[in-house]
């Protein structure tokens, strides 16, 4: 092998290495808005596309007002925050979830305006974001339509009412609850934005199990599913507020 060949092979190694290194930074969903999401939502902080962060949802939206989404994080320690966003939605940020004393699992439903990636980004204590997600195909119209409560005009009768059910399953307590709220995006003609801003999930001893920050794309009368350690002190309370200052203060009895 002559010197030229050595140099060539070395160059090949270098380019291979560069390529491998680069792919971990390339958006696997090939979204046109990834760069902008990275700076706007993830503050240009280091990103790892990571299979341990999983979004479950159908691959198409039968009802763009109510697309079911679950986020689940497996085998990832020191989770500080989980942010859900949809790159191509008019309002991209959907939800932020801080699981303090709770499994990193959450289900909810979202409104989408067109086909878009839906992603979960998990910030760990080392300051990096672990990102997972997939594409959702949608015909659209979910964000610019008025809520049913607005259309019917009766939303104020049930505002912030909470219904809930709980189960014991596989050593875990599961709780599902619905909070009555129009969740108006502000994008429908003549209807200002009106949405639940956040709520804390608090156990009977006063310790905050999780904080959930919600944005306009969360579906009307949001329903959440959480898995809670069954030793948690009951009853659980939900304490929060919407962008008009209406308070959420509900106890999950069962």
């Amino acid at each position: 092998m002559n010197k030229f060949q050595h140099t060539f092979i070395f160059a090949l190694y270098v380019s291979c290495f560069n390529f491998c290194f680069a792919t971990s930074q390339v958006d696997p969903l090939d979204s046109p808005s990834w760069e902008s999401m990275h700076s706007k939502i993830l503050n240009n902080e280091p990103v790892i596309f990571d299979d341990r962060v999983q979004i479950s949802m159908p691959d198409f939206a039968e009802d763009p007002m109510n697309v079911p989404v679950s986020v689940q994080v497996n085998n990832l320690e020191n989770i500080e925050e989980i942010v859900i966003f949809a790159d191509l939605n008019p309002i991209q940020k959907v939800l932020s979830f801080q699981p303090f004393h709770i499994k990193p699992y959450l289900s909810f439903r979202i409104k989408v305006e067109q086909s878009t990636p839906v992603r979960a980004a998990v910030r760990t204590s080392d300051g990096s974001w672990h990102v997972g997600g997939s594409w959702l195909e949608a015909a659209g119209g979910g964000c610019t339509a008025p809520s049913q409560g607005r259309a019917a005009g009766n939303w104020h009768e049930t505002l912030m009412n909470v219904s809930s059910r709980s189960w014991i399953k596989n050593e875990l307590g599961r709780v599902r609850f619905r909070i009555m709220h129009p969740m108006d995006t502000g994008l429908a003609d003549g209807i200002p934005e009106f949405y639940l801003e956040y709520f804390d999930v608090v156990d009977a001893g006063g310790s905050v199990l999780a904080k959930i920050t919600t944005y306009q794309p969360i579906s009307e009368n949001p329903v959440f599913t959480l898995d809670i350690n069954k030793e948690i002190l009951k009853p659980i309370n939900l304490l929060g507020v919407d962008n008009n200052g209406n308070r959420l203060n509900a106890q999950i009895e069962n």
Partner: protein, 317 residues
């Protein structure tokens, strides 16, 4: 292993044949030709059997069964298909079977693959149940948007609002040598017309019956649907024409539709009662006996989206 000699004339002919098939298919899509071939299923009775697929650019929405009965007085058409172009090509195909005039169109229900061909028959009285006419007015625009999106160029020129549909009030009518019985059932939508030709024993069920194609539920009332299936089963027929899937001469398609519908409803209801979230229900296994149905996974996802919220409301109230 013995390797076949691909230079043998027989393989060459096979290759040429396959090439021709492929070219024909490509050309059909380019020419927007549905290639409608009427299939005779009984005396005077013909059907056009659609693909067991979802709407697509490739099939142009030809996923539905339509049919016609050639009476001595003229032709009665059952459902007009998914687009103006389909209606026109259907009319042309009918004219190759008979030179009798088309005298009546019957629309089984308000879903777009069954009535959007109406424009091709504007010179003929078109009938549907009164409730179906209301539902077309309510949902027609949305359907049209959706089909232009899904079937693309095949839809050009299709519009439903320009066609008048008359309310069908008769329970039975004699058209020359054929006696047609009309049943107002429901469950797939809130008004589903079932037509029995008593003279031949052919039963057109509309979408109350699917055969080897997964049923759809965007406007379904399963309880009412199951009642309608009982009533359909009690009808004395020889041949059954489902809204989607193959024609049969037994109650198989009725039982199959019931089997899937019962499974679907009980699965979703139980899952909600056991605390499963919607995405977990989407991931549940579908029994093997439904495995060969067309569009299985996609229709299951659609049905969960329609039916899960109904049962969820019950647990929260």
């Amino acid at each position: 292993m013995k390797i076949p000699n691909l230079n043998k004339p027989i393989y060459l002919l096979l290759q040429i044949f396959l090439m021709i098939c492929l070219v024909q298919q490509v050309l059909a899509v380019e020419k927007l030709d549905y290639q409608l071939e009427p299939e005779q299923i009984a005396e005077d009775t013909y059907v056009f059997i659609g693909a067991k697929e979802d709407f697509s650019y490739e099939n142009g929405g030809n996923i539905v069964n339509t049919g016609f009965i050639v009476t001595e007085q003229g032709v009665v058409v059952i459902d007009s298909g998914p687009s103006k172009r389909y209606g026109q090509q259907m009319r042309e195909a009918i004219s190759k079977v008979t030179n009798k005039p088309i005298i009546k169109i019957l629309i089984t229900h308000h879903h777009p693959d069954h009535f959007l061909g109406n424009q091709a028959f504007q010179d003929v009285p078109i009938y549907a149940l009164a409730e179906t006419i209301k539902l077309i007015k309510r949902d027609g625009d949305g359907f049209l948007d959706n089909l232009y999106r899904m079937s693309g160029p095949w839809m050009s020129g299709t519009d439903f609002s320009v066609v008048e549909i008359k309310a069908l009030v008769l329970k039975q009518e004699k058209i020359a040598n054929h006696t047609l019985k009309y049943f107002k059932f429901g469950g797939h939508t809130s008004a589903d017309l079932v037509i029995l030709d008593e003279s031949t024993g052919v039963l057109f069920t509309g979408d109350l019956v699917f055969h080897n194609r997964t049923l759809t539920t965007p406007h379904a009332d399963p309880e009412n649907w199951l009642k309608s299936l009982d009533k359909i089963k009690a009808i004395d027929f020889n041949i059954i024409v489902p809204g989607h899937g193959e024609v049969a001469n037994n109650i198989g398609p009725i039982e199959q539709t019931r089997d899937y519908l019962v499974w679907l409803e009980s699965t979703i209801k139980q899952a909600v009662e056991h605390g499963l979230d919607m995405t977990e229900v989407l991931a549940l296994p579908i029994p093997e006996r439904f495995g060969s149905f067309g569009v299985l996974k996609r229709e299951y996802i659609r049905s969960v989206s329609h039916r899960y919220p109904v049962y969820e409301k019950l647990i929260f109230n």
